[in-house]
Amino acid sequence: MLTILFDGIAYGLLLFILAVGLSITLGLMNFINLAHGAFAMAGGYITVIMVHRFGISFFWSLPAAFIITAVLGAFLERTLYVQLYDKSHLDQVLFSLGLIFMSVAAVDYFMGANQQIVNLPPSLDGRLQFFGASIGYYRLFVIILCSLLTIGLQLVLTKTRFGSRLRASVDDQRVARGLGIDVSRIFALTFAMGSGLAGLGGALGAPFFNIDPTFPLKFMIYFLIVIAVGGTTTITGPFFSALLLGVADVAGKYYVPAIGGFIIYTIMVAVLIFRPQGLFGRVTGR
């Protein structure tokens, strides 16, 4: 069923944009940042405020969401996160959980607990018919935008100097340091970029699943699953796993609504059993 496939892909790509930052930072600094979803939520609310409080165009809110959350991410990385790299995973988990709780309450305080609604600009409403499939313009827009982002990301990682340094650092930090790469600076940049992408993802996602303060908790598991399945050593891994999950989730709910909810979890656990390093991740010495 073509429509379902499209919906699934749109959903999957969105998940990828949301999660890729987490995956890279995890692979790079081996840092478990459960609060990643908070940045996505920030992006979503930025859109809500811009579009509905100030009537700015949805299209402008997207880059804004990216930039603002990126800056926010960079700031938090320099001030807070940087103090936890040498701490145990437990500490990192607790710390980021703490951040989640704070962000949830803060958003509740400023924006209220109820769901926020983002109305799409008319140019993105409506649907497109071909080969019997009907695709919402907005989903199409999401698919195109996310694909472009992915390609861009891939280019940045493979073609640019920053990219090669980043990959070097992910492969082996000590060696990278030896080569005189300023890993912590690379990481700050990556973290900012990842947060920014999450923010953008949140903004893009807001029209589908209207965001509310519990967003970071609701989606934490999705991010983790994307990474668990995709591994943290590449970005192609999370990419495919996100697609897989998106399609599996949507198709599951369409064809077997009864057990739709289980599918993603089952995939995750199965993968963790048979390939702890992730379905697409490669075995690393570490």
């Binding site: 704070m102 309450a105 803060a106 509740d108 668990a228 909810g261 963790l272």
Partner: protein
């Protein structure tokens, strides 16, 4: 290095005694338990809250066994808690009146067995891979159990919760009264017994070998400790403990809702252990008291933003006071000791 000198002195005397001394009961412990009992007369109007605390403490204890003594980071203890709750709940519901099935103690046993068994099975997943993998597996298992609880609504009552849980009178004598007096005494005694067991375990050679695994797996293996087997055992025990905590909840509130399986439950319990102090057993108890007390104060002031304070406390804790409450207290004691021996 005063402690060194002191050590040497005792050592020459009798090293064994010095080791055993570590397991000796200290006065704050007695004080804590006496306080818990005293509450029965101190604040008879809050039995229900105390009951919740006792149950929470048991759940936290189960996490401390897994996390604090073998270093497994778990976000899924709620799964076992919930399993226990539903097991005991169903036993009490369908065995109404009929002695054996609706008997509370038997309910505890059943809950412990079921939770323990599932814990045993899932432990093999938990053994694999890194902290992250463990985090994911525990979380994943919890989510699946939660989804099951929701889907199998003809058994669990689904989102409406399990109604009509009517456990038989405790020991056939004490009914669960509306004031929660029986409930609190019951939960407290169960907590105490299980705590004694846990305390004995961690002070025993097996406890030592668990701490060894947490301390340094390579060396633990090199001296012949079968790491995997030990982890399976402790994880299973932890699961059983959580299950019994759940059973207590089901029996004393005579109701089970899907909330028992929620991620927040697991998270809360984990936080409690950290608040109290990981790997101290008492952290679980003190932590849950502090947690609920904090909730009583902060939440009654601003219910909406309770989670903000919780988060803040957590962040500060990680950044500044890793030992938790117990950690702070012991640090204080050590400083005092040093001060005294300096004066001496």
């Amino acid at each position: 290095m005063t402690s060194l000198a002191a050590g040497a002195r005792v050592a020459t005397a009798d090293p064994g005694a010095h080791l055993v001394a570590k397991a000796r009961w200290r006065w704050p412990e007695f004080l804590l338990w006496l306080f818990a009992i005293a509450l029965i007369w101190l604040a008879p109007s809050r039995y229900l809250l105390f009951n919740e605390i006792a149950i929470l403490a048991l759940l936290a204890l189960s996490i401390d066994l897994v996390l604090g003594f073998s270093g497994i980071v778990t976000l899924g203890q709620g799964a076992f808690y919930g399993l226990g709750a539903y097991t005991a709940g169903l036993m009490a519901k369908h065995g109404i009146g009929t002695f054996p099935w609706s008997d509370p103690l038997l309910g505890l046993l059943g809950a412990g067995l079921v939770a323990g068994f599932v814990g045993f099975l899932s432990s093999f997943l938990v053994l694999r891979g890194s902290d992250l993998t463990r985090l994911m597996v525990t979380l994943g298992v919890a989510l699946i159990v939660q989804e099951l609880g929701n889907k199998l609504d003809w058994i669990t009552g689904g989102a409406d919760g399990l109604q009509g849980v009517m456990p038989a009178p405790l020991l056939g004598l004490f009914d669960f009264d509306i004031f929660g007096r029986t409930a609190y005494l019951y939960s407290l005694s169960v907590l105490f017994v299980l705590f004694l067991l846990a305390r004995a375990l961690v002070n025993s050679p097996s406890g030592l070998s668990l701490r060894a695994i947490k301390g340094n797996v390579i060396r633990a293996r090199a001296i012949g400790i079968p790491v995997e087997r030990r982890l399976v055992v402790i994880y299973t025990i932890g699961a059983a403990y959580a299950g019994i905590a759940g059973a207590l909840l089901a029996q004393t509130t005579q109701f089970v809702s899907l909330d028992v399986l929620s991620f927040e439950k697991s998270a809360d319990a984990l936080l409690i252990v950290v608040f109290g102090g990981v790997g101290t057993l008492y952290g679980a108890l003190v932590g849950s008291i502090a947690f609920k007390a904090m909730y009583d104060v902060l939440a009654s002031a601003t219910p909406e933003y309770w989670s903000f304070w919780l988060g803040l406390a957590l962040v500060l804790l990680v950044l500044f006071a890793r030992g938790g409450i117990i950690g702070l207290l012991t640090a204080l004691r050590d400083r005092l000791d040093r001060a005294r021996s300096a004066r001496a």
